[in-house]
């Protein structure tokens, strides 16, 4: 009997991993990255990233010491880069949750090659995002006012405010994402433990693997826990960015006060997240020789999602204009026509439209969405475009208040710029450390997608025999393989 995991050639299906990939080669490819010396490129990247993180630390120190007046925010633009960066980073995280939870529930097996990577990205992006609400309060020692803690002032946050919902949404998101990531890591950490050559590695990975022995019982509990966490994470994909969009939508500022915001923000979040996964994946896959695990097929599927979400975002932009016209409200029309499409911030608006709406349209062509260079450039453009989207939404709705006497302009200061690029540094620092120490591809999950992982697999029908490599690493049995 043949395997369920074999691609059906008649339907044009192809293998999820390259021909000739075996259980052993998957383990080797992933594990060897953390077991050998870091390549020079890693060190160069790491030093640059750490330097930017240092700049971030210094800029935040200066901000705390001096006050948030060091930012360019001032009347009438009281929200600017701080919340732009917050929304941008939170949005980037969403691809990780979508890939790990939603695609898991929909049995999209191609997710296995990229989910670990994307989940790590989620966690690091949320860490970067969380910096901003923390420091924007100015007096950072009062940041504990944000959660509702009983206190002797009998003072509570406003439960009607979406800013409080944000605190719940983002902290839940971070906790669930971290747990999900860690639970998924346990079998792979055990693989690392078993391969460890030094005592320290053995103890550290051994402690992190929580005594995983790959027994049938372990796998049963693991699969159940993973399914539950996927179920918990799935609503978060939709809820977190909906709540973030409420920060704007529940206010009565023209340009913000729209019901389209929640779905529009969620689509944008997934859009930017996939672009970030694409950027990082293209580099890592080339540097570490992971092309057999993250194949062109994966990249094409991600590009399709980028095309879909990019078009959704484009539709939302168009709909905002239509509603501004259709409402007949002068202030709404002013925001869209005179503050966004034309006026002093038109440059930002048209950068946003070209990057977010026009550039993904290239992916209607099968040739272009399979082109590495195009994928890389578009992924960068989308990240730029999505940053500008948040900037445009926030600043162009604020800089012209209702009265012309309170019209202004926004210019970032050096500290704004340092803090933004500093968070990029922090993100890449964490990311490079992740690549160096943690299995960056879910070894056990990718193995489960091989034809050999099917219990009904019959090697006599196989085109290539890799049962040998499998026997050598009996402790690394994938999820779908029952204990024998």
């Amino acid at each position: 009997m043949s395997s369920h995991n074999l691609p059906i050639k008649e339907l044009g299906e192809v293998s999820l991993v390259a021909e000739g990939t075996t259980f052993k080669s998957i383990t080797e490819t992933v594990a060897v990255v953390t077991e050998t010396k870091a390549p020079r490129g890693w060190w160069i990247g790491f030093l640059i990233a750490v330097n930017f993180t240092g700049i971030l630390g210094a800029a935040i120190g200066y901000l705390i010491w001096t006050g948030i007046g060091v930012w360019g925010n001032n009347s009438p633009v009281y929200w600017a880069w701080d919340i732009t960066n917050f929304v941008w980073w939170i949005g980037i995280g969403h691809a990780g949750t979508l890939i790990s939870a939603v695609l898991f529930l929909f049995r999209q097996k191609w997710r296995t090659a990229i989910n670990r990577f994307a989940e790590a990205m989620t966690i690091f992006a949320v860490i970067c995002a969380l910096i901003f609400p923390g420091i924007h309060v100015g007096r950072i020692w009062y940041a504990y006012y944000m959660p509702p803690l009983p206190n002797s002032m009998a003072l509570w946050p406003n439960f009607k405010s979406p800013l409080l919902w944000d605190v719940f949404a983002v902290s839940t998101y971070f906790t669930v994402s971290l747990l999900f990531w860690y639970v998924g890591l346990i079998p792979d950490l055990a693989t690392f433990r078993d391969r460890a050559k030094t005592k320290v590695r053995r103890l550290v990975y051994g402690a992190l693997a929580l005594g995983w022995r790959s027994s049938n019982r372990h796998w049963q509990h693991y699969e159940r826990a993973y399914l539950l966490l996927a179920g918990l994470s799935t609503p978060l994909v939709l809820s977190v960015h909906s709540v973030v969009s409420f920060d704007f939508a529940t206010s009565v500022i023209p340009g913000w006060h729209t019901t389209i915001f929640p779905p529009y923000f969620v689509a944008g979040a997934i859009f930017s997240g996939f672009a970030m996964v694409m950027t990082l994946m293209l580099i890592t896959r080339a540097v570490y020789g992971m092309k057999s695990l993250v194949t062109q097929k994966h990249l094409e599927l991600m590009n399709k999602i980028i095309l879909l979400t990019g078009s959704l975002v484009g539709y939302a932009y168009a709909m905002e204009f239509f509603i501004a016209y259709y409402s007949g409200n002068d202030f709404e029309r002013h925001v869209f026509i005179h503050n966004r499409a034309s006026g002093p911030f038109a440059w930002a608006y048209w950068i946003m439209v070209s990057c977010n709406v026009i550039s993904p349209q290239l992916y209607w062509s099968k040739k272009l969405r399979n082109n590495i260079a195009v994928s890389f450039v578009v992924s960068i453009l989308v990240n730029i475009g999505m940053w500008f989207e948040r900037f445009v939404i926030i600043v162009t709705s604020l800089f012209h208040d209702f009265l012309p006497s309170s019209w202004g302009y926004f210019r970032p200061t050096l500290i704004d710029i340092f803090i933004y690029f500093g968070t990029l540094g922090l993100f890449f620092t964490l990311f490079l450390l992740f690549i160096r120490w943690i299995p960056m591809i879910a070894i056990a999950e990718v193995k489960a997608t091989l034809p050999e992982a099917d219990p009904h697999w019959d090697p006599s029908h196989a085109s290539h025999d890799d049962a040998h490599g499998h026997d050598e690493d009996a402790h690394e049995e994938p999820a779908a393989q029952p204990a024998e």
Partner: protein, 208 residues
Amino acid sequence: MQLFPRSLNKLPLVAAAVLGLLGPAVVGGVWYYVTPKNFQVGYAPTQPVPYSHKLHAGQMGMDCRYCHANVEKSAHAMIPPTQTCMGCHSLVKTESGRLTPVRESWASGEPLEWVKVHKLPDHAYFNHSAHVSAGVGCVSCHGRIDQMEVVRQDKPLSMGWCLECHRDPKPNLRPKDQVTNMEWRPEMAKNWTPPEVHPPQHCSGCHR
């Protein structure tokens, strides 16, 4: 390969037990100790003159307003000047060594530097006259001053404590002629009904 000793299997249980005890202990400790109830109440600085409220207000029954004269009209309950002390002490206990700083102040014109006991932060607006004329007794916020040898802070003066009364002022109201009476109890005015007062509960009521 055995990496860790077998006894480590108990770790989750031990960790759960320790965290289960430590968590509530930390929360309870912060709840009880890191509050003005703990930090503020009991503050009793040494004053330049060992003045006894117990003697003056308690045993001799002097009215609070004899010294804190403007409390019904002014936002601040004034600290009496040396002249108020000398009104009596130029005749009574004129030789007392404990009163030397008062006589020196009287002679030189330099005021005595009393130490403030009940401190409110600068961002909290407080008006004595508003409270006194609404019928809030001195004792409600200051405690039994008439029994204190050295004045100590008796109430936490925290925002939550202020709000408790602002949300439900009636239990702390009394007939206006009983405001300074330290021993007044609600049973003493059975036929009296507290007036309808509406103390502010919004932010700018006190943070102006």
